[in-house]
Amino acid sequence: MSEHSPFDDDSEVAVTSESLRDDLLDAYPKKTRRKREKQVVVNHKQADESGLVSLPVIGANTRTIPGVITQRGCSYAGCKGVILGPTRDIVNITHGPIGCGFYSWLTRRNQTLAPTDEHDNFMPYCFSTDMQDENIIFGGEKKLAKAIEEAYELFKPKAIAVFSTCPVGLIGDDVHQVAAEMKEKLGINVFGFSCEGYKGVSQSAGHHIANNQIFKHVVGEDDTKRGKWSINLLGEYNIGGDAFLIEDLLQRCGIDLVATFSGNSTYDQFANSHMAQLNCVMCHRSINYVADMMEKKYGPPWIKVNFIGAKATAKSLRKIAEYFDDQELTEKVEAVISEEYPAVFEAQKTYKPRCEGKRAMLFVGGSRAHHYQELFAELGMKTIAAGYEFAHRDDYEGRDVLPDIKVDADSRNIEELHVDADPDHYRGDDRAKAIERERAGYKFKEYDGLMADMPEKALVIDDINHHESEELIRRMKPDLFCAGIKEKYAVQKMGVPCKQLHSYDYGGPYAGFQGAINFYKEIDRMVNAKVWSMIQPPWSDQADQNAPSSSSVRRDG
């Protein structure tokens, strides 16, 4: 491993990762600095004598410091917006003041495809109890019950979900009780989420709350048997149509996709998902515990996959095939990869020379800051700094550190479901197959995290804030910065293109092979756009005279 900072080679001033880190931290008051020191890490990998590499420890999944201008959102956003948002046929009622429902209304680009007009698709609707002053004072349960009834009467959905916003918990509304009563009364599934915005330290808490309730209230409701190569895809949210591309690949391979959690998903898919033979986890952060719970309760093992990047996609498909260990499947997978790869090579030939050597920074999400490095690598671009918005230590350092993670008060507040094998539904055959495959050297539950893949001495920053982003950009002038909408325009004002990796800037899809090609094109567009060279006016290199004040130079004529 090279000892020098990834910054050194291109920059004119002698910035080292360490010096830059110091500079970032120097601006803070003492207490703030102490906290941030743990989260701003130089990726110095140390190999012991046996060659075993150890990574630095990073602070993650801890409270955001007030006032720093964070990227993070809240538990409600993670629960209602991210996890439940992409499911089209559940009526999602936000119980609270109007804002939360409003902001999470169609803003996440999780696409869905109802096969016909007869199929429900409630995603274009925003349902809210629009709590008013009096509901805060006298309680909102009655209004919530009424709202559920009204929603049922208008839309006749197969399920209604209720999402709690900040005041709901504080005033003591029992959404679960109301949900249970309405389930009884209406005869459809109704369930609630205690995903108040203050729960946990980031969206991550909301993912957990969402997944737990889906696991409790929906998974296992439908025992219909599935085909021979059946899988679930966990942690894929169909941003910009990613899931459509992945679905297409799986279908062409003959793999039976039971459920995606939750891109392009339906209630019925969740209900049947425990019948899949294998769980494939995309976003480790948002959902690895669901895979664990399914394994415990129903038997199917899980593996980590990644469909971002052409190489990663091929690898993931092969890994699935390898699990099922069936010649027919293996051949199909290879055939699909052979069909897709020529166009990828062609695209790489075009775009790599135009992007090679450019430097990217990625600060986003709970897996994207890692996965997208694959695509940049395929373009010959270097990721010189990265970090997550809401990940935990295992997402940085790998699952090996799981036992070492301290559970603090904020995380303790998030319910951990205790799951045992379901006597009626546990499938010993799946378990047996997993054990057999593991013996053959197949790796389950394997995730080494982001840091292992980052260059030596790259900066890894958890929960980055505006100050740190701006300093990084100002000092390092990367060719591209990846973040979200809140960061985008500030970054671009510095003359650096910013790719949104939440919404894809309304581009995409970027998953799979076709998606990789889309991404190459998009990055080429961004890093080679003429506009960045035109920001300085042609007279900027000439000394300006003192301009008269504008009032004095105006005339009539």
Binding site: T70, F127, D130, E149, L154, C166, G197, N413
Partner: protein, 466 residues
């Protein structure tokens, strides 16, 4: 295949609890937008960090600009024990790291429900020496379960008066007027200032997001862009000879507070969108400037009228559905009426006492032909059900981006106006107030109708000339 297909035309159960597709959002985002109109001010959301993230995202998506703001990042602990520690930390961090002149704190449903006393916390911050010399923290109480984004905007605007404006005790400055523009685009604020200046008066404009949320690309990110009302200018608002508050919902409270605090006479009037409301605006300025209207404004007025006569045949008798904020809706409806169009359906989620009366005044004889609704269930779902059940499909939709779903389903052209506009870029640079701004709206309406006519014309009726 339509998207909002799940209810039939006759299906609008009497709702009292469920809001579907709201025509409003919550107070704090309004407070944040208003605070961005104060020069070198960092808005701060005292509550969960999700609120701040949502508000910043929505503002950035609408304005295509950075929307910088801090949050107190409440966790469960702060929700139980109060947010004082968080706000103190925030104040220290913000002044240390970002160095604004003002922090403008607004509350959320969370901090309001637990009852945090922001002024008391700010006192504590001062006691702890967390406020650097010359810096200030102002605040507004904006619980999300009261009013709407527009009242949040109003409340933060009023806070600027409460905290900053002063009467120096001297005589009022004869040529200086306060201009409280309400929630309009940055370009609108510029346009309003231009009109006041043309009328020979010196406007103290607040909040003023021009130069903030329409800032230039220079290769430098200015944490605090050149625009915005300065603290000094707002301070001198107490010495202005008059306050013109545009829009009773957004601007009325600040104007009244300024009168109460500094005895500046005030006039609250409609947002100058359309000929009549702009005439009213100019009339008032003319009253203040001693009675003249410069040729330039007369020419702009005449050009608008010229377009109104030239375009009249295409507008006459056409119907429209509108949703959004009361201050905008009243003036837009009046504009349509002056064009001999009919604003057939109008909804706003924003509550407030005088809306029906104001709409009634504007609609005049047409009131019977129009449906107007306001409040919690006066949402876009209701509007859409009205449209679905109307045998004569309305000809036009005017409102924010969310209208595109109705536009698609019902095949009705949409003019994007109001907040938020998430799917187009540029609106912040084109004023729709004043005579000139109204010409833009006219052009948009005409284009919508003529594009439609061209699209639907049979071969024999496809026209070169119109």
């Amino acid at each position: 295949m339509t998207l909002l297909r799940h209810t039939s035309a006759d299906q609008d159960v009497q709702r009292e609890a469920l809001t579907v597709n709201p025509a409003k959002t919550c107070q704090p985002i309004g407070a944040m937008y208003a605070a961005l109109g104060l020069h070198r001010c960092l808005p701060h959301s005292h509550g969960s960090q999700g609120c701040c993230a949502y508000h910043r995202s929505t503002l950035s998506r609408h304005y295509k600009e950075p929307a910088m703001a801090g949050t107190s990042s409440f966790t469960e602990g702060s929700s139980v024990f109060g947010g004082q520690a968080n706000l103190l930390a925030a104040i220290e961090n913000i002044f240390t790291v970002y160095d604004p002149d003002v922090i403008a704190v607004h509350t959320t449903c969370l901090s309001e429900t637990i009852g945090d006393d922001v002024p008391q916390i700010v006192e504590a911050a001062i006691d702890k020496g967390l406020l650097p010399e010359g810096k200030m923290v102002i605040h507004a109480n904006t619980p999300s379960y009261v009013g709407s984004h527009t009242t949040g905007f109003a409340t933060m605007t009023k806070a600027m008066v409460d905290y900053i404006a002063q009467s120096s005790g001297a005589e009022k400055i004869r040529d200086q007027v306060n201009l409280i523009p309400g929630w309009v685009e940055p370009a609108d604020m510029s346009e309003l200032k231009r009109l006041v200046k043309l009328m020979g008066l010196d406007p103290v404009t607040f909040p003023d997001t021009s130069g903030v949320l329409d800032s230039p690309q220079t290769g430098i990110h200015e944490m605090f862009p050149a625009g915005g009302a300065t603290v000094d200018s707002i301070r001198s608002a107490g010495d202005s000879c008059h306050t013109i508050a545009l829009g009773p919902i957004c601007s009325g409270p600040a104007a009244k507070a300024l009168f109460a605090k500094c005895q500046v006479p005030q006039t609250t009037m409609p947002l100058p969108i359309g000929l009549k409301a702009t005439d009213q605006f100019i009339m008032k300025l003319r009253e203040i400037n001693g009675g003249f209207v410069p040729d330039e404004i007369m020419t702009e007025r005449g050009r608008l009228l010229d377009l109104m006569t030239d375009m009249h045949q295409y507008f006459y008798g056409k119907t429209a559905a509108l949703w959004g904020d009361p201050d905008q809706l009243v003036s837009l409806a009046e504009l349509l009426i002056t064009l001999d169009m009919i604003p057939k359906f109008v909804v706003t989620g924003t509550p407030g006492k005088k809306f029906f009366k104001r709409m009634g005044d504007v609609l005049g004889d047409h009131a019977q032909a129009c449906k107007v609704d306001q409040g919690s269930c006066a949402d876009m779902f209701r509007l859409h059900q009205w449209i679905k059940s109307d045998p004569d499909k309305v000809d036009l939709l005017i409102g924010n981006t969310y209208g595109k779903y109705i536009a698609r389903d019902e095949d009705i052209p949409l003019i994007r106006h109001g907040f938020p506009i998430l799917d187009r870029i540029g609106h912040q640079h084109f004023a729709t107030v004043g005579y000139r701004g109204t010409t833009r709206i006219l052009e948009q309406i005409l284009d919508a109708f003529l594009d439609r006519q061209d699209r639907d014309a049979p071969e024999s009726g496809f026209e070169l000339v119109m």
